[in-house]
Symmetry: C2
Subunit: 166 residues, 2 copies
């Protein structure tokens, strides 16, 4: 069961799906830096999960993360849940409700100023199943609520075909 990381090195000559070098490994320093900015502890699961999210251009479910890390950083699935929740709590990531009752997570855009940004726009591709984070919803989209309704957050979600699947 996989003594921590990089255990079974390069000699892996599996015929099918020879494991490529995971893209998230390159984002580990970046992840560590971001976590050090929080008041909480720097732990391996947090680094690995965040590095994984950083390496993706689309939103990832807890399962996606656990699977991506399985080879080099196997992490208990409950810990993945807890780390993802923590990332949301400290403002590093946000969560998106999918149509399949699964939460997906994505790092916040650091360029988006002081954002507990309560307005999201996402695009769920029915081709590849991936969810992409779009730019923030403009402050005034031309939609008027009935009288008396006081909105606090807005979610705008598109379904269709993404750039790659269209």
């Amino acid at each position: 069961m996989k003594t921590a990381l990089a255990s079974n090195g390069a000699k892996n000559t599996k015929p099918t799906k020879a494991s490529p070098i995971p893209a998230y490994l390159a984002r580990i320093p970046e992840a560590e830096a971001a976590i050090r900015l929080t008041a909480d502890r720097l732990t391996q699961p947090r680094v690995a999960v965040l590095a994984c999210l950083l390496s993706l251009d689309h939103a990832a479910s807890h399962f996606d993360v656990a699977q991506a890390l399985a080879r080099h950083h196997p992490i208990d699935r409950v810990t993945v849940y807890r780390v993802l929740e923590w990332l949301v709590d400290v403002g590093i990531a946000h969560r998106i409700a999918g149509d399949d009752r699964v939460w997906r997570f994505m790092v916040n855009d650091p360029t988006a100023s002081v954002q507990p940004h309560h307005q999201h726009a996402h695009f769920a591709c029915s081709g590849c199943g991936q969810t992409f984070c779009l730019d923030d919803v403009p402050n005034k989209l031309n939609f008027k609520l009935p009288k008396g309704f006081k909105p606090a957050e807005v979610d705008l979600k598109f379904r269709g075909l993404c750039l790659h699947c269209a």
Copy 2:
């Protein structure tokens, strides 16, 4: 068929929570009429579930429906799931994904012309927990997708306080 309703009449003198006459009973004829317009069978569960949805001004979960019908039309929970799915399939209702990973259902607005209307707007109240269906999203809300993305459906969801809770 129809014998089965209004079974145990008015003599209910329970001390606590004396059951009021359920509002959905009045919508049974309406529900039957709508179901007859489909090519499928008119069954008691379908009538009861649809009557229940018709009596509400907000979206109902499968649990809400099962509970509302428990006294006069007890229906197996699996059947409730199946009937709700069927109502969506035949175009009588639509489903809304909630933030609590629960599907909620609401009858489509019959005035909305020929609608497999692929644009929805909903309002989830954080006070009472109910979800309301708002008017359709205007055809052109001022939001531009990145190049190459081909949207097929749009969901606009607000969270906040509803008319009654504000």
